[in-house]
């Protein structure tokens, strides 16, 4: 992973900009034009005001309105047109920005989600789920702030600053120099104070995370705290963490809050200096030095003062966006990390197809026949062979390591002929789950070979391999939706009848039909409204409707009571019928009914055989069986 590299900030902003342009190739340029147009137009009225004031100044003592009426009204009319243009462009860009902001966020969400679906299971196994979630919540939020507010603001402000600056030079360079001095002071302050603010904001985020972690741990153990009367201690610990969060967030906000007044008042002082300089220039009748060649006069100083205000105001606006930009860049960086995360590699070319049998020959066909075969193209001679899907799985001298150098499986060889049941037995960490992870290529083996129906699984397309291997896991993950939706998850085009038949097969129909809305009962929060056993039954039905020739079962260890356990057990048994099954066994009856029992210890097979053989051996299995050994 290249996550922790500090990439350059400009690169991130540039990429973000490129992406938004790609999402909105028409709208984005239009918006930028509108923003620029709007900004330029908003700074132009100063010119007209200056003209009007100049006219009024010249003729106010005459009292003759009619003489200047036409002139003034003409200027006001033009001004009005500019105002209307500014309003129209303002409305257009504001409306479009709403689309662009939300649309970009949506596209980033979808991009992240889509890439996440292609990532190897290792990603989910090795990353904290809360962390992954925060890509979608916190990071997207910082991006929203940056796109919708900071970007337009920065764009507008820089254009205004540049335009106003131009006009200033146009009017009077002496006064402009005074303004430049002020700007340098402001930039200096922004860098110092704004930098401090950004630093503490990031620290505040960390402190917040720390507080969240602590509170979560305590609240999960709240009942234990009660039982041990540990309330006072945990309050004390919390106070400490809360205090440090308070300090960081106070500093962050303090810096942010102070920045505004400082810049504002530098602006005020600047205003005074411009006024005084202007006064001096007027009194001394100093020659004006400007692009326009206009003579020094009140009609230059007054608008100049206004421009100074505008100038300062915009720099102030920019400084307000600093925190948002710093956090937005950090957020964008994390979002790109997820989007760039390397997807699962798949070089498989053997696929699973529907076939018809004609005269003992397998003929590929499009329609669903219920008979499946592996289509195996051979690159050497261009021929294609078909092998009927049977469910024969063999492991040859398999070694595996999650991390380089830490081998967790050593030289594992075993086979399961179609319809056979293989049970894995052993303590936690013995490697039972690891073996099942290898069969459907959640992880790839380091050495050795795994063959499915005689084909090396590395040659099989992952999606097809996984379709040929069903799985029922200990943690039953159900999804929000109806019970029916959840069963249908196993086979998306299954009819209601097929789903109900599957539920009946595994004995889930009984309780489902007693639910308030039967098969259409909504399952929420991972099935919190169902009992553990009921959830297991639904997940078994889900696997049953998929109907794969090979099943991997991970029996639940959790203590459900004897009666429910019996029902779940019957469901499992029904599912196992006529299939090749690998089962991580916790129940005696499952183990006993298996064709082969594999006893694992520290990644090695230490005993194998059926129940009677192994008992007669009086080895490790015998000890496990008699409960003399810790088994989980």
């Amino acid at each position: 992973m290249k996550t922790n590299q500090v990439k350059n900030k400009k690169g991130i902003i540039l990429r973000l900009f490129k992406d938004i342009l790609e999402f909105y190739p028409v709208m984005l340029p239009v918006v930028i034009v509108c923003i620029l147009f709007n900004a330029v137009i908003s700074s132009i009225p100063a010119v007209f005001m200056q003209n009007i004031i100049a006219i009024v100044e010249k003729s106010w003592q005459s009292g003759d309105w009619n003489a200047v009426k036409e002139n003034i009204l003409y200027l006001v009319f033009i001004l009005g047109i500019f105002y209307i243009l500014s309003l129209v462009s303002g409305i257009i860009y504001n409306q479009m920005m709403a689309f662009i902001t939300q649309g970009t966020l949506k596209k980033f969400r979808v991009k992240m989600f889509n890439n996440m679906q292609t990532l190897p299971i290792k990603y989910v196994d090795t990353n904290n789920h809360g962390d992954i979630m925060s890509y979608y919540t916190n990071d997207i939020d910082t991006l929203r702030q940056m796109i919708s507010q900071s970007f337009p603001q920065l764009l507008v402000s820089s254009v205004v600053v540049i335009t106003v600056f131009g006009i200033m030079i146009y009017f009077c360079i002496w006064l402009t120099l005074v303004v430049i001095l002020g700007v340098i002071a402001m930039l200096f302050v922004t860098k110092r104070v704004g930098g401090g603010s950004a630093k503490y904001f990031i620290r505040q985020q960390k402190a917040l995370g720390h507080m969240e972690g602590f509170a979560e741990e305590m609240m999960n153990g709240q009942k234990v705290i009660k039982v041990f009367c540990h309330e006072e201690e945990s309050k004390k610990d919390f106070d400490k963490i809360n205090e440090s969060l308070f300090n960081d967030s106070r500093e962050a906000n303090r810096y942010a809050n102070i920045l505004g007044p400082i810049l504002n008042n530098i602006g005020n002082v600047l205003y005074v200096f411009v006024a005084i300089t202007g006064g001096i220039l007027l009194i001394t009748n100093a020659p004006n030095f400007s692009l326009s060649g206009l003579a020094m006069g009140i009609s230059i100083v007054v608008p100049f003062l206004n421009m100074t205000k505008q100038f300062v105001g915009n720099i102030n606006q920019v400084s307000h966006q600093i925190n948002a930009v710093v956090m937005g860049i950090a957020g964008a960086q994390r979002i790109y990390d997820l989007i760039d995360e390397e997807p699962e590699q798949d070089n498989g070319y053997v696929t699973l197809v529907n076939v018809r049998e004609e005269n003992g020959q397998l003929i590929e066909c499009k329609e669903r026949t219920g008979i499946w075969a592996w289509k195996h193209p051979h690159s050497s001679d261009g021929s294609v062979t078909y092998t009927k899907l049977a469910g024969d799985v063999r492991l040859f001298n398999v070694d595996f390591e999650y991390e380089p150098g830490k081998t967790v499986l050593h030289d594992v060889s075993l086979y399961a002929k179609p319809g056979q049941k293989v049970a894995f037995v052993g303590a936690t960490g013995a490697g039972k789950t690891t073996i099942t992870n290898l069969l459907n290529r959640f992880y790839d083996i380091a050495d050795g070979k795994i063959r499915y129906d005689g084909i090396n699984i590395n040659k099989i397309k992952k999606a097809d391999l996984r379709r040929a291997i069903g799985m029922v896991l200990q943690d039953t993950n159900l999804f929000t939706g109806t019970v029916m939706d959840n069963i249908r998850y196993g086979k998306l085009d299954a009819t209601d009848d097929e789903c109900i038949a599957a539920a009946k097969l595994v004995g889930a129909d009984d309780f489902i039909s007693r639910l308030p809305d039967g098969y259409y009962t909504m399952i929420t929060e991972n099935g919190a409204n169902l009992s553990q056993g009921q959830r297991q039954l639904i997940s078994i039905a889900r696997a049953a409707v998929a109907d794969p020739p090979v099943m991997i079962l991970d029996e639940a260890t959790s203590s459900i009571d004897t009666r429910t356990e019996a029902i779940v057990q019957r469901g499992m048994d029904a599912l196992m019928e006529d299939r090749t099954v690998f089962v991580i066994a916790h129940r005696l009856s499952t183990v006993k009914n298996s064709d082969v029992i594999i006893v694992l210890d520290h990644g090695r097979i230490i005993e194998r055989g059926n129940h009677e053989e192994l008992l007669a051996k009086k080895g490790q299995y015998y000890q496990l069986y008699t409960g003399a050994f810790e088994l989980e």
């Binding site: 009024v56 989600f113 705290i225 041990f228 005020n268 088994l631």
Partner: protein, 542 residues
Amino acid sequence: MVNEIKGGCDLNTIIKYGIILIILAFLSLTFGGVAGSTSATAACGFAKNLRKDMFYSIQNYSFENIDKFLTSSLITRMTTDVTNVQNAYMMLIRVAVRAPLMLVFAFVMAFVMGGRMAWIFLVVVPILAIGLGIIIYKTFPLFKKVFTKYDALNKSIQENIKGMRVVKSFVREDYEKKKFEAAAQDVYADFTRAERILALTGPLMQFCMYVVMIFVLSFGSYTIITSRGLDFDIGQFSAILTYNFMILVSLMMLSMVFVMITLAAESAKRIVEVINEKSTLTNPENPVYTVKDGSISFENVSFKYSKKAERMVLANINLQIRSGETIGIIGGTGSSKSSLIQLIPRLYDATEGTVKVGGVDVRNYDLEALRNQVAVVLQKNVLFSGTIKENLRWGNKDASDEELVEACRLACADEFINQFPNGYDTYVEQGGANLSGGQKQRLCIARALLKKPKILILDDSTSAVDTRTDAKIRKALREYMPETTKIIIAQRTASVEDADRIIVMDRGSINGIGIHKQLLAENAIYREIYYSQNKAGDQSEN
């Protein structure tokens, strides 16, 4: 000042005004700085106190209160909701005073300086106010709705991450992508709708500003010229343009504060809910501080978790347990084994009847005194991040190292702790993630033993421990703590076989009491459980 420059061109006057202005700027800087800094302290302090009050309040919750809230919901309240309130509060103290003041001041000044010109504000301001009102009125419900959808979207991501193995093994990646895209599109559409309305705020304000500008520029110049500067002069002219800006900005800020407060109101409501939640258990007025012995009696006890529940979880329980007795409790899920024992340390109050410990009603004890004498090893037990020692000292914070080792020996935890490179200083990850189930259970038992309680309750606390160790622990308890009343809830009959008495629970009542042999002969439920666990073994042994 503008007047001076225009009129006299007297440098001294300009400098005089300039100095005053600079002094004002410094004052403004000082006050602004102090205000900014104190408001930061105030708002962050407010947030800190809110978090503290919530956490303290939660610490005082009874089990019943804890059951009411989801952990995830409490966490959101302590983080997101507090942040919302904090931001709104800071806005409020920084802007809510300043903006109205600025508004009033600007209005007054506009009338003083601008005279008749200022009437235009009476036309424009209501337009702006009404416009902003409509925008808020329209967007608020939209935002409320879309945030619910947004939550649902995030929940579905969470589901997907948790269920990644299922997604992959059923090859449903594309299906998930489509599902997500549709949900994201939905959220996008609603957000855009709300934001588009909100985006009208800027142009609306610009519109008002422009109207004033045009009016002042045209009608203003007319007035100046026709009245020869008597009714209205150039100084007033530029002043009213400035005040125009001030008035509109302060109105804008007020509307922003208003929006923030309405959004934060929801958060505030959720925070207050936590703080105001009163513990359903309170200490009696003149509590008893000493627990005489470990005898327990249930007298006509009935119990249900919520007042609204129809069915009693425990119905009419009568039971006498002598001090020092070992009691086994067995029964299926939902037979209320755990409910029964939770009444003893007063984790819940009995709905009817009385529970007595040491001959005194549990409601008369000081809660801490009672719970220190009644140690419960909960079924869903938790270890905390910290060293093994730190975790053990939860039982008794003054325990010496020897006492720790002693307790661990009784709980058969000493053997595996010593195998760790760091022994008792081994760091336990959050929730004990780096320990096996059996190890965790043994540590939890040791932690409870350190209390040296008069009553020890093990609620299915050895389910992951192998039978041999389980037996060893029970033997140790019997031999080293003969005075302590021991109550053992178990799934396995093997764990209770040697108890003085075994209670068989079924659907909230006592189905049978007796010793193993007696129950095996007389009690159908006990027999069923016993045989379901031992039948397979018996057959294979033959």
